[in-house]
């Protein structure tokens, strides 16, 4: 009897404490893409400093994990580099894509005798298909007139783990090189015809650095941090362009943004457009049943696409174009929390 009374009191006390804590902080959890994770972590920490009652916990477990999480609603939001496929959309229920920033994938190499490198999509595909095996191949020579190329064997480095980076890179090759589309295709992991796999951007970076004659693809951030050389790629308009944030912005400006934001901006038209670029997305439910969390999340996203954008460029992500931000504002007003459009009357 006394025991049960004690238990009851303890339960009451515990419940009260839990309620009190819940009133103090709103804990939002998210999971997904690793590519924007450094920027997201900075955002969540900055936002928490400005709004101490809102704490956002993000797990960078990969886009696939993020999609799984939001489909099963085990997280409050997901994050993915590639937009969801029709099949995934059907499973995920009412999900809204919100673009946050854009990024670029670059081609890097380690051959001290090659100081700069220009590549057309056909040549790049040829290298990653295993058809071009030495640095002085005629196809590379054709893209780089006047350059003296060594006879070193080429070795290809690619990602071994499934990744958004691979998805963007293979999406570009599938669009720009018909042979790639036919033989390999696009996806987070593909059946590589040649080369060695390494885990993560840092793994590929390490492998390229350690192997003379190697060539690989990594995110712009990694190439810049490690001072790796980056190739100029021939874009849709036939110009060779270096990977820059302006080039990414030009690529985004050239495509028409559909209503659900699910768009690929690889191989975009435009003189300055850099061809291997992509939006990265947050995935949020169109109607969030949890009033507190849902409202806080939408307010955070509003901050991210406005105040948060200034953090993007210093970390090698391209900020969203103005037109897209305006569109996102309109979308945020339509998103519901507990059946109500909570941001409808905000500015």
């Amino acid at each position: 009897m006394r025991l049960s009374a004690c238990l009851a009191a303890a339960t009451l006390a515990f419940g009260a404490a839990a309620r009190a804590r819940a009133a103090d902080t709103i804990l939002i959890t998210g999971a997904g893409a690793t590519f924007p994770a450094p920027l997201y972590q900075k955002w969540f920490s900055d936002y928490n400093k400005a709004h101490p009652s809102i704490q956002i916990n993000y797990q960078a477990i990969g886009s696939g994990g993020g999609i799984k999480g939001i489909t099963e609603r085990t997280v409050d939001f997901g994050a993915s580099d590639a937009p969801l496929t029709e099949e995934q959309m059907a499973k995920a229920g009412d999900i809204q894509h919100i673009p946050t920033v854009m990024g670029a994938v670059v081609v890097t190499w380690n051959e001290p005798d090659v100081k700069s490198l220009k590549l057309s999509p056909e040549t790049l595909a040829g290298i990653f298909l295993g058809k071009i095996t030495t640095w002085n191949d005629a196809a590379i020579a054709k893209d780089n007139p006047g350059a003296t190329l060594p006879a070193t064997p080429l070795s290809v480095a690619h990602r071994s783990d499934g990744s958004g980076t691979t998805s963007i890179f293979t999406d570009y090759l599938s669009k720009a090189a018909p042979e790639w589309k036919e033989k390999v295709g696009k996806g987070t992991s593909v059946n590589w015809p040649t080369g060695l796999g390494a885990k993560g951007n840092d793994g590929v970076t390490g492998m390229v650095k350690a192997t003379r004659g190697s060539i690989g693809y990594v995110e712009l951030l990694y190439a810049n941090q490690n001072k790796l050389p980056v190739a100029e790629l021939k874009n849709h308009d036939g110009n060779f362009v270096k990977p820059t944030l302006e080039g990414v912005a030009a690529a985004a400006a050239a495509v028409e943004m559909p209503a659900d934001y699910r768009v690929s901006i690889t191989d975009s038209p435009g003189k300055q457009a850099y061809p291997i670029a992509s939006f990265t997305y947050l995935l949020v439910p169109k109607d969030n049943p949890n009033l507190e969390k849902g409202t806080a999340l939408l307010q955070f996203i509003h901050w991210a696409v406005h105040g948060g954008q200034k953090d993007a460029a210093p970390m090698d992500y391209a900020p969203l174009p103005k037109a897209v931000v305006t569109r996102v504002d309109a979308t945020l007003k339509q998103l519901k929390v507990g059946g109500k459009e909570v941001l409808a009357h905000s500015k």
Partner: protein, 319 residues
């Protein structure tokens, strides 16, 4: 007579508390089976779409793994797992057993900790550290001079052909050998210490040399235990993920050459699972897990059979 006595002791013991204790222990023991069963059940359930599409046999024998076109075959991964584990055992077994014999038979007991302590330390190093060491120290050394040397001297064998990349089956095998060395050595030492001194003395008294005493008296007595240690080491080698994926090259191909890059079952599961979408890809990875489970089970069973045959043989000789 003795049996009757035993029964008398057991009967008064059958009180409620003892019975409950017995039931509790049985339940705990059974829990192991339940957990293993649930794992198999869940893996089978997940992998059903792939096994249904391709059939178990073609899944195991096909080596084409193409996520984009939903074609899945596990042969290259099974091959990589078996080859790296075999290489690891070939390197680790003689060293480990030799080390154990040296420590128990040849040195004074007070010197044992000098080697035993670093050995235990070796067992405690996280596998990712082994992987990093492999990538930055072992692989460059293999690339030049070890692999070119092997190609020059033993290049007529199919195992030592092809360009020396450094990353590949050989690198993974060597890393695994180092990782399983402490396991096999530690168990072998414990087993060798249980060999009764009288056996050695008897052999020596019959005029055997030290090596003959080890070969005739010590090793046959300890054989079962040493094989048990090797099985445990093999289990670790089969399931090792992180260190292997960092040095094996992650290219799903089957090549007789140890210089060639390959892939292993646990490595591909770890690499692709986070980004796997769609029932087929997830299913194929679950099927690989099931396969790994199966390979481990088969090898364990084979090793146990070996032990039984070996010890049975010993008894026949003794008789």
């Amino acid at each position: 007579m003795l049996r009757g006595l035993g029964a008398e002791i057991v009967v008064p013991g059958r009180r409620l508390a003892d019975r409950l204790w017995g039931i509790g222990l049985t339940a705990l023991g059974g829990a192991v089976l339940v957990v293993a069963g649930l794992i198999v059940l869940q893996l089978t359930r997940l992998s059903a779409p792939v096994l249904h599409q391709a059939g178990l046999l073609s899944f195991v024998t096909s080596k084409k793994w193409d996520v984009v076109n939903d074609t899945f075959g596990a042969a290259a991964y099974v091959y990589g797992t078996l080859v790296t584990s075999t290489v690891a055992l070939l390197f680790a077994m003689p060293v480990a057993v030799g080390l154990a014999l040296f420590l128990t038979e040849m040195t004074k007991p007070q010197f044992r900790p000098i080697i035993a302590f670093p050995l235990e330390l070796l067992a405690g190093i996280p596998s990712v550290v082994y992987g990093l060491w492999g990538l930055f120290v072992l692989v460059p050394v293999l690339r030049d001079p070890i692999e070119p040397f092997l190609a020059r001297t033993l290049g007529f064998l199919p195992f030592f052909k092809g360009p020396p990349i450094g990353l590949g089956f050989l690198a993974a095998g060597v890393i695994l050998a180092i990782m399983i060395l402490p396991t096999i050595t530690a168990i072998s030492i414990e087993v060798l210490r249980t060999v009764p001194g009288s056996l050695r003395e008897a052999a020596l008294a019959l005029g055997a040399t030290r090596w003959e005493a080890i070969r005739v008296a010590v090793l046959p007595y300890a054989r079962t235990g040493i094989i048990g240690g090797i099985i445990l080491g093999l289990g670790r080698a089969l399931g090792e993920t992180m260190a292997v994926t960092m040095v094996i090259g992650n290219a799903p191909q089957i090549s007789a050459s140890l210089f060639a890059p390959g892939y292993s079952l646990p490595a591909v599961i770890a690499n692709e699972f986070a980004e796997a979408s769609g029932a087929l890809h997830t299913g194929a990875l679950a099927a690989l897990g099931l396969l790994l489970f199966g390979v481990t089970l088969l090898l364990n069973a084979a090793a146990r059979l070996l032990v039984r045959v070996a010890t049975g043989g010993a008894k026949r000789v003794a008789a």
